[in-house]
Symmetry: C2
Subunit: 366 residues, 2 copies
Amino acid sequence: MHETTRLAGLIQERISDTLSNHRRNLEPLGRDTEPLLDEALGFLSGGKRFRAQFATLGYRAVKPLDLAGEVTPEFGAVLDAACALELFHAAALIHDDLIDRSDTRRGRPSTHRLFSAMHQQHGWRGASEHFGLAGAILLGDLLQSWADELMQAACDAVTDRAAARAARAHFNRMRSEVALGQYLDVLEEQQPVFAEHAEQLERSTRVLVYKSAKYSVEAPLLIGSALAGANEAQETALSSFGLPVGVAFQLRDDLLGVFGDEEVTGKPSGDDLAEGKRTVLVTLARENLPTTHRRIFDDLLGTDLDPSQIAILQRSIRESGAVDQVEGMISRNIARSTAAVNGAPLRPDAVASLTQLAERAARRSA
Amino acid sequence: MHETTRLAGLIQERISDTLSNHRRNLEPLGRDTEPLLDEALGFLSGGKRFRAQFATLGYRAVKPLDLAGEVTPEFGAVLDAACALELFHAAALIHDDLIDRSDTRRGRPSTHRLFSAMHQQHGWRGASEHFGLAGAILLGDLLQSWADELMQAACDAVTDRAAARAARAHFNRMRSEVALGQYLDVLEEQQPVFAEHAEQLERSTRVLVYKSAKYSVEAPLLIGSALAGANEAQETALSSFGLPVGVAFQLRDDLLGVFGDEEVTGKPSGDDLAEGKRTVLVTLARENLPTTHRRIFDDLLGTDLDPSQIAILQRSIRESGAVDQVEGMISRNIARSTAAVNGAPLRPDAVASLTQLAERAARRSA
C-alpha cells in the first residue's frame, strides 16, 4: 500500500510538471488561454489512476522496478507512459461527458459545464452552452495531443526499439478501439427498441469490451509490459488476465451507474438510467422481467427521471435478479483472471499486486 | 505542375491505404462503425492539400527528392508526414465546424450535419443534432490519433534520430498552438464589444498567427525540413519565409470568408460575417467607418443575416478601404517571404517551387 501511495504521488507530480511545462511554452499566446490550462490541471488532480497502476504493474510483471527507489530514466519512462494513459483518459472523459450530457465528473462540474458557467458569469455574447462545448472539445483535443507526447517520451527513453514499437502499437490500437467503442455505445442509445435478447446482449457486451474492458485494464497492462520487453507468453498471460479484470471493472461500473452513491461516485445516482445506457446489467434485467413490467421499464429508461422513478427502476433491476447475475459474472471474471496468471511466466511479486488491484477494481464503490 | 499532380495522387493513395488498413484492423468491432470510416474517407477525398505540399517542399528545400521518381522508404516517410498533416487538419476542421456551427465544408455537409441527417433518416430516438455532435467529436478524435500514427511512422523511418525528434517537436508545438489559437478565436466572438482598435488588432492578429499562419504554412515547412535534417540557418530561413506566407494565406481566407463565391469555396457566402468572426479585415473595416456606420455594422455582425444584410456589410467593408488595405498586406507579406528565401541556404529548385506555392496560397479563390 505504501508503494501505491508513492506511485500516486509520483504520477501526480509528473502530471503537474508536464502541465506546467506546457503552460510555460505556451505563454506567448497570452493569458486568455489560462482557463483551459487551469481546467487541465483541475481535471487531472482527481481520478482513481487505475490505468497508471495497471501500466506500472504490467512493466513490473516482466522486469523488476523498485517503486520505493530512485526515479531512474527507466522508471521515468514507465511514469511517462502511465501519465500518458491518465491524460488520454481525461481527454476521453471530457469528450464523453459532452456526448453524454453529463453535468458532473469526479464530484466537480464537467468541463463543458465549467466553460458554460464562465461564459454566463462574464455575461458574454451568444449561447453559454455552445461556449461550453467549444471549451470541452478543445481541451480534450489538447490533452489528447499531450498524452501522445508523453507516450512518445516514454518510447524514446526505452533503448530497446522493438519494445518501444510494441508499446506504441498497443497505445495506438487502444485509441482507435475506444473511440469506436464509444460510438457504438452512443449508437445503442439511439435505437428505438431493444434488439432481441441474445443479439442485444452481444451488442451490449461488445460496447463493454471495447469501450471499457480492453481500454481500462488490458491495454494499460500491455503497454507497460511491452515497454519492459515482454515476450509473447508474457503478453498472452497479461492479456488473459487483463480482459476479464476489465470486464469485471465495467460490470461494477454498470452497477455503480444504477445504484452508486452520488457522494462516493461523484456522479448523480441512477445516471445510466436517465441516459438510457443499454448496459449488460440493464439487458439482463429486461430479459428477466415479465412482459408488462418490461414495457413500463422501457418507457421510463432514457427519459428525464425523477427520484421516485429512479427508485422504481432500481427496484425492478434488483428484483429481476440481474444484480445477482452481474455479481456472479464479476466473481467468475475475477476467478478467471487469477487463474490466468497462476503459473504464468510473470514476476511473482507483481502477480500478487495484480490480483490485489483486480480485486479493488472489481469491488470498488466509486 | 506535373510534379504537383503526382504528389496529389500519391497523397490521396496513401490516405486511402491508411484508412483501408484501419478499417481492416477494426473489423472485429462490427459493421456498425462503418459510417465513421466512410466519412473519414469522404472528408479526406477533398481539400487543397496545402499542408502536404508545404511539408514536401520543406523537405526538398534541404535534401533532394525526386517527386517523379520511385517511392523509396525516404520518400515514403515524407509522404507519411504530409498525410499526417492532412489527417490532423481534417480532425481539426471536423471539430471546428461543430464549434462554428458550420453546415457545409468543401461543398459537402459538415460531419456533424451528416451524422444528424443519418439519425433523422433512420428515425432513431433522441435528438438528431446531438447524435451529429457525437459522430463529429469521435471522428475528429479518431483522425487525430491516426494523424499521430502517421507522424510516428514518418519519424520511425528516418534514420537520423535527431532529425526525427526535431520533426516531432514541431508537430507537437503545432498541435498545441492550433487548439489554443482556436480557443482564442472562439473567445473573441463571445466578447460583447470590440476592444479599442490597437488592442483589437493585436488580438485578431494573434488568432490569425496561431490558428492559421503558423499552422497552415510555417509548421508544415518546418516538419518537412526537420525530417531532412535541416540545420539552424535553414530552419530560420524557412520560418522567415513561412510565417508571412501563412499570414497572407489567412488574410486571403478572411477576404474569402466575406466575399468568396459559394460555388468555389464550398462555404456559404459571407459566412464569417454571420459567425461574427473578428478577423483582421473586419477590425480594419470598423476602424475606417464613421461612428454611425460602425454602430450599424456592429449590430449586424454575428447575427442571422439575410442576403441583403450580407450585401450591406460587404459593401461597408469594401467602401471602408479595408479590402485594399488587406490586399496590400498580402502583397507585402508575399514580398517579405520571397526576400527571406533569397540567398538563403536552401536548394534553388525548391525555392522556386516555394515562391510559386506561396503565390497560389495568397491568390487563391477557394
